[in-house]
């Protein structure tokens, strides 16, 4: 379970002055549900998810993951969630197995449990062929699988995906989409951000539309379509976002 409570993040920018990257965002995601955060580039998706994953600290407001407060107990929060984004790379000089082991150990798994978990995950993701290959020698698909294994090693109840398919080829992206669905089916709480409408339509139980750091609309796909009288999600999105859209100054 994720509860975001008035999450806000302000940055000081030399040129633009104070920037409200995320402005008073509240929402709830339940176990066994996929919550999609839909927004254009620079809308505040990444900052929101980074705050949930405790990589950034909110300026105001807070959030709770599985009851743990992200400001008070960031370490407990991280122990309960898996975070995957295109920016979360692998250590090039470690092998796939060492990479996953490292994160297992940091999550406090003992050697016996860790070995069992790794064997299980490597079998399931069909990773045994490149177990001992260094991460810098892996193909994009193999890297993605290793990253998935890394987020799964401690079997967290909450999964956070920040634009997980950005820049991936179709087949690799499909693996990820499949994986996200599987997480939900296993009863995990899943939140993911994207600007790809198709992914939202395919996956999401709940959708939040974010623009300029503000959560403008929220609901199931059906609710959003009815509320705005459009069948096409892209049209819905444009209708919601347009009055608030400010093109970025160049």
């Amino acid at each position: 379970m994720i509860e975001a409570l008035h999450l806000s993040k302000r940055f000081q920018d030399k040129k633009r002055g104070e920037v409200r990257a995320v402005d008073d965002v509240s929402f709830t995601c339940h176990p066994g549900e996929i919550y999609g955060l839909l927004g254009a580039n620079g809308a505040g998706k990444t900052t929101t998810l980074r705050m949930l994953a405790t990589i950034l600290e909110p300026t105001e407001g807070t959030a709770r993951l599985c009851g743990h407060d992200i400001v008070e107990h960031p370490e407990r929060v991280r122990a309960n969630c898996g975070f995957l984004s295109t920016a979360t790379a692998l250590y090039p000089r470690l092998t796939a197995q060492e990479m996953v082991e490292y994160f297992g150990r940091l999550n406090g798994l003992d050697s016996a449990t860790l070995k069992k978990r790794i064997d299980e995950i490597f079998d399931r993701l069909d990773m045994n062929d490149f177990r001992d290959r260094r991460c810098d020698k892996l193909s994009t698909g193999m890297k993605q699988k290793t990253s998935i294994a890394r987020t799964l090693v401690h079997d967290p109840p909450v999964m956070i995906f920040d634009e997980p398919t950005l820049g991936l080829d179709i087949m690799t992206a499909r693996t990820i989409i499949e994986f996200i669905r599987e997480c939900r089916d296993r009863g995990k709480t899943v939140i993911f951000s994207t600007h790809v409408m198709r992914e939202v339509e395919k996956l999401c139980d709940m959708v939040g539309i974010i623009q300029g750091g503000k959560l403008l609309a929220e609901g199931t796909l059906e609710q959003l379509r009815q509320r705005h009288g459009e069948n096409d999600l892209e049209e819905v999105f444009v209708k919601i976002v347009t009055p608030h859209y400010v093109p970025e100054a160049v």
Binding site: T54, I55, R78, S85, T88, A89, R93, R105, L106, G108
Partner: protein
């Protein structure tokens, strides 16, 4: 579980460092090879130059002196020079290094001498040129002896004892142990190289573990794991410290072994045979161990300092450009300590880096002033702790970790 995480981070960073060629070269290869290669090269060149200069009979011209056959004959008999026929362009020949020196004897020199009015014999040389200086030194000594012999002859002619010329003798003798003599020569250089190696050993891992991690995009990955940022930076710091200390230790071992080898080799004996004292390079294990111990807080200071600076950079390249000027800054006190006359005082004992350099100089000479050792160790520990605190604090700051 909590402190265990520091260890887990450390082990992982160690695994990666041992697979990084650049780190391996700066930590193992450079300190092990630097001193033997530099030392052997330097000694060989020096031995060659000095030996050759001493073996070569310098060509000397005698200018004038046609009316002073005594002096000319004496000079011609002198075995350490080769008198060549005088040419009118002798000054040029000195500049062109065709001859090493010229002895100018004034007109009517011996006539004046007989009258008791001594003139001046001039030795023309190429100042600063080692072969010319050596020839001039020899000539000067020889002519002084010649002068003394004339004086003694005069005394004897008047039935006076020759001792009148030298009522007493002056003798110089070094009572410092060979270790101390070596220290005076080597101490400053060792401190300089030690500081350089401590910094160099820490540099490449410090950059790799901070800016490098940002560049490769693994910073976000590791920050999403349950390890706390303090534990993470401490684990990283320990690895950088290991590399720095390893470099310093290998350097000192290498210095010890090379100096022992040098002592045994014939090079020094050859130098000694050519006259002049044999340089001493003996460096005992005690001196080596004490210098390594002093290097510990220094390595902490460098490791934490470099992590703090490199953390601001977004890429390896950027980090290197921040750190390059630091190299020069750090070497200023190290060079200052090499200057003659700069010795430990209570004030200098709290100047970072300079204090360690000066202390190293003393330790190498076998002197142990415990009050200074304690003061310097403690003050360096304080600076090191400050740097480490800063590194930990910086690692908590989003504006530093996610600088854009």
């Amino acid at each position: 579980m909590r402190l265990r995480n520091i260890w887990i981070v450390y082990l992982k960073e160690l695994t990666e460092a041992l697979r990084d060629r650049r780190t391996l070269i700066t930590t193992f290869l450079v300190p092990l090879l630097l001193i033997p290669v530099l030392g052997a090269g330097f000694t060989a060149v020096m031995a060659g130059v000095i030996g050759k200069a001493k073996r070569e009979k310098p060509k000397v011209m005698i200018v004038g002196g046609t009316d002073s056959p005594g002096v000319v004959a004496a000079l011609r008999k002198y075995p350490k020079i080769k008198v060549v026929p005088t040419m009118p362009d002798w000054k040029n020949q000195i500049i062109e290094k065709e001859i090493r020196a010229a002895v100018e004897i004034p007109e009517g020199f011996e006539g004046d001498l007989a009258k008791g009015q001594g003139g001046t014999i001039k030795i023309d040389i190429y100042g600063g040129e080692i072969k010319s200086e050596l020839a001039a030194g020899n000539l000067e000594n020889y002519l002084k002896e010649y002068r003394d012999s004339i004086a003694i002859n005069r005394l004897e002619a008047n039935h006076l004892p020759p001792a009148l010329l030298k009522p007493f003798q002056v003798k110089r003798e070094s009572i410092a142990s060979p270790e101390k003599e070596a220290g005076a020569v080597l101490g400053g250089i060792i401190a300089y190289v030690l500081i350089l190696m401590c910094l160099n050993g820490a540099m490449s891992p410090a950059i790799d573990l901070t800016a490098g991690e940002k560049e490769r995009g693994t910073m976000e990955t590791i920050l999403s794991s349950p390890v706390s940022r303090t534990h993470l930076v401490l684990g990283k710091f320990l690895l950088v410290l290991t590399a720095s200390l390893m470099t310093a230790m290998l350097l000192m071992v290498s210095i010890g072994v090379s100096s022992a080898a040098l002592q045994k080799s014939r090079v020094l004996n050859q130098l000694a045979e050519e006259g002049g004292p044999a340089p001493q390079f003996a460096l005992g294990p005690k001196a080596i161990v004490s210098v390594v111990i002093m290097a510990v807080p220094l390595a902490v200071l460098f490791s934490a300092g470099l992590i703090t600076i490199a953390l601001f950079a977004k890429s390896n390249k950027e980090a290197q450009s921040y750190i390059a000027p630091l190299m020069f800054l750090v070497l200023i006190p190290a060079v200052a300590a090499m200057l003659p006359g700069v010795d430990l005082t209570p004030k200098l004992a709290i100047v970072p880096l300079l204090n360690v350099s000066l202390l190293c100089k003393e330790l190498v000479t076998g002197e142990y002033h415990w009050n200074y050792i304690v003061l310097i160790f403690a003050s360096t520990c304080v600076y090191a702790a400050g740097a480490l605190y800063l590194a930990v604090k910086m690692f908590q700051r989003e504006s530093v970790l996610f600088r854009s």
